[in-house]
């Protein structure tokens, strides 16, 4: 009877991931959907519509408050040149299906998104990938600055076997990162699904070795909290978190994309020699040094050895000079000059008069700030320019734009400029 129903709904015959019989495809979508848990009741027991935007905004403000409390009003030095290894646990625990369709697929998808976001926010940094399979750690890719190579290598081998060994992974990463220049910040991000680690030696020694080589280890667990991971992160100054579902995993991963606060002794300040290549003339022919093929036109010429490279940022294969363009450096400037969080405006009617003088619409998007029934809606205000903004503009300004439109629309005389170009 179940087979008949499946054929009627036109499904494929393979029954790999659904073990309950007699469930049609349309029902599978609701198996894990517990939408009744999202309903709320007000005082008299009637159902209340959920105000998602207010919850989202409250979540965002909580996060921002934590970050700004940590910064405490001073400019915290951030590690902008990062050498990060991502260690993914491909042991048999990764084949568990508590994340749909399986932990491996979810991890791969989110790591891909993380890699792109990482290079977007840290254009001068490099990533390497390591996998743990059968108790042995393998290097999937070496440290490099091109997202495509890493993503292709990651998606190539997605299978889960054997035990997981934290010590082997840490030893391998330590060895790779010891060859990195001293001005770079060394970091490891471990995605751990297993509940134990099978090590050939004393893992505490390895942790002390990592601490001595100034390696900052962070772990994201997918199953449960483990003492050894917590100990590792505490000793090396990293972050330990455990994901409860897919959305949470994505948020935790993306938290590691912006540069972490740097501990001053970890990286020695240095002057790094870099080149700013010019675009090659249209129609010029040269053999490019990255693909070893003849290319016409678009490309860049290394200023030191005049070799041709295809795109930036990269290291010249002939002379080793780091080649960047000024927008790549500019992408990191908003980490150095962050804008202060906006203040919430309390919704008392006593503030109505001051608001009327400044206008009843958001300064950024001209949306009306008057809520339902002529009461003032929720809004925020900038401390410096005193303009009002709606909640959505607040989130957009702090997460993506990094400029306050009000502060940018005021003319400042030359002497007060933040940065001299």
């Amino acid at each position: 009877m179940s087979n008949q129903r499946k054929r009627l709904t036109g499904e494929r015959e393979d029954e790999d991931d659904e073990d309950a019989e007699g469930i049609g495809e349309w029902e599978r979508a609701y198996v894990d959907d517990r939408s009744w848990e999202e309903l709320q009741e007000d005082e008299s027991g009637l159902l209340r519509p959920i105000d998602n935007s207010a919850i989202y905004h409250a979540q965002y403000r909580r996060r921002l408050r934590m970050l700004s409390a940590a910064a405490a009003g001073t400019r915290i030095q951030k590690g902008l040149i990062r050498y990060l290894y991502i260690v993914i646990d491909f042991s048999r625990a990764a084949a568990e299906m508590d994340f749909r369709p399986s932990r491996i697929a979810v991890m791969a998808k989110h790591v891909e998104a993380f890699i792109r976001e990482f290079f977007d926010q840290n254009p001068l940094s490099q990533i390497g990938l390591v996998s743990i399979k059968n108790g042995v750690a393998h290097t999937l890719t070496d440290l490099g600055g091109s997202p495509e190579t890493h993503i292709k290598a990651l998606m190539g081998k997605l299978e889960a076997l054997g035990d997981s060994s934290l010590q082997n992974a840490l030893e391998l990463v330590n060895e790779h990162l010891s060859q990195v220049p001293s001005y770079g910040h060394r970091e490891v991000l471990i995605l751990y699904s297993a509940l134990c680690t099978c090590d050939p030696g004393d893992i505490m020694e390895t942790i002390q070795k990592c601490k001595k080589s100034k390696l900052r280890c962070s772990v994201i667990g997918l199953s449960a909290e483990m003492f050894i991971c917590k100990h590792l992160c505490q000793e090396t100054g990293g972050l330990y978190s455990v994901a409860v579902d897919e959305v949470h995993l994505k948020d935790l991963l993306l938290e590691h994309a912006p540069p972490p606060p740097a501990i001053a002794e970890f990286a020695i300040a240095n002057l790094i020699k870099m080149g700013f290549p010019q675009r090659a003339a249209e129609g010029s022919m040269a053999i490019c040094s990255c693909h070893k093929e003849v290319k016409i036109g678009a490309g860049y010429m290394c200023p030191r050895c005049k070799a041709r490279v295809c795109d930036l940022p990269t290291e010249c294969t002939i002379c080793g000079l780091t080649l960047v363009s000024s927008p790549h450096l500019a992408r990191s400037y908003h980490h150095l000059f962050p804008i202060a969080p906006f203040d919430e405006v309390p919704a008392f009617s006593s503030l109505n008069d001051s608001r009327r003088t400044l206008g009843k619409s958001c300064f950024g998007c001209q949306q009306s700030l008057i809520g339902t029934g002529n009461k003032p809606g929720q809004c925020v205000t900038c401390r410096k320019c005193k303009h009002y903004f709606c909640l959505d503009c607040d989130i957009y300004i702090h997460e993506s734009l990094h400029n306050c439109p009000g502060c940018e629309s005021i003319h400042r005389p030359k002497s007060v400029s933040l940065m001299e170009e």
């Binding site: 300040a269 240095n270 010019q278």
Partner: protein, 301 residues
């Protein structure tokens, strides 16, 4: 304009945000007067609105001391009965002209308070770009059916180097939102900010040679909506200069030194970074060892 309950959006509906430069320091000595310029621009806006019934136009004025919204074609309050004598302008834009006049007077008052020394000739490009992006973000939030937004920057004032970080932040945000920034530069020198903006976001940059024919340049190059740009030949970018300038002498350099803490650019070796104050150590040794390591790793001879 009839309020359509369910709008049919074809793929060539566009939302144009025009950033108009009203900097009095620039307009005081140009070959074309501001009112002649405005007549070209208003005819262009009319043409854009005529291309498709659902097109929208927003105008933001970029002044010397402030920026503000001047015109929004989707608001129905534009069709008042304004009497404008003898200017020959269509009544559709009467509210635009009135608001522009108010804005320019207010801008002038604000700049008078500032003082006469230290007059940099640049306008507040970063402010109007940020406001345009906030508006476009609001359009994206309004649902699935929305016009395709783009930004057109009509500017003549030179770049203000103090706005570099803010302008680059806006450019990267526009790139993420996939909003092209077109730019039409009518000033004397070249504007590196606008060239970079158009190159990075995939827009069109053009410097018209003859300002008498500005309307023709605007309608043939900048009126094309995003879908049709795949079929039309628009001016290609020629050699955008992405070299950086050093912080000490402000000259463009090919090779330089970068502080690893604050990413400041220097043209020669220093002992201490002038921006963040960090002391540099052992840099020559590290550089030599990293280059020789690479040579050792390469197996071919």
């Amino acid at each position: 304009m009839p309020s359509v309950a369910f709008k049919q959006y074809s793929d060539d509906v566009s939302l144009l945000v025009l950033l108009l430069d009203t900097n009095p320091l620039f307009w005081s000595n140009t070959s074309i007067t501001f009112s002649q310029f405005l007549s070209h621009v208003l005819a262009f806006l009319n043409a854009v609105l005529g291309l498709n019934q659902l097109n929208q136009v927003i105008v933001i004025a970029t002044g010397y001391s402030s920026c503000d919204y001047i015109y929004d074609s989707s608001l129905t309050s534009n069709h008042g009965n304004f009497e404008r004598s003898g200017t020959g302008m269509p009544p559709l834009f009467a509210s635009l002209l009135k608001k522009l006049e108010d804005f320019v007077t207010k801008d002038e008052e604000l700049s008078r308070e500032e003082g006469h020394e230290d007059r940099t000739p640049s306008c507040l490009l970063s402010g109007s770009l940020s406001m345009a992006l906030c508006y476009i973000q609001r359009v994206f939030r309004s649902g699935h059916l929305h016009p395709q937004p783009r930004i057109l920057c009509l500017q003549g004032s030179p770049d203000g180097p103090e706005q570099y970080v803010a302008v680059m932040n806006s450019i990267f945000s526009a790139q993420r939102l996939m909003v092209p920034i077109d730019s039409c530069y009518i000033g004397v020198q070249n504007s590196a900010f606008l060239q970079q903006a158009s190159y990075i976001t995939g827009g069109v940059h053009h410097t018209p040679k003859q300002l008498d024919g500005l309307f023709q340049y605007l309608t043939t190059i900048f009126a094309t909506d995003l879908h049709s740009r795949g079929f039309v030949q628009l001016p290609k970018p020629i050699g955008v200069d992405f070299r950086a300038s050093c912080f000490c002498h402000k000259k463009t350099i090919d090779m330089g030194y970068i502080c690893s803490v604050c990413l400041s650019i220097f043209c020669e070796h220093h002992k201490k970074c002038s921006t963040c104050g960090s002391v540099f150590g052992q840099s020559k040794l590290d550089e030599a060892s990293s280059v020789s390591d690479k040579k050792r790793k390469a197996p071919h001879t």
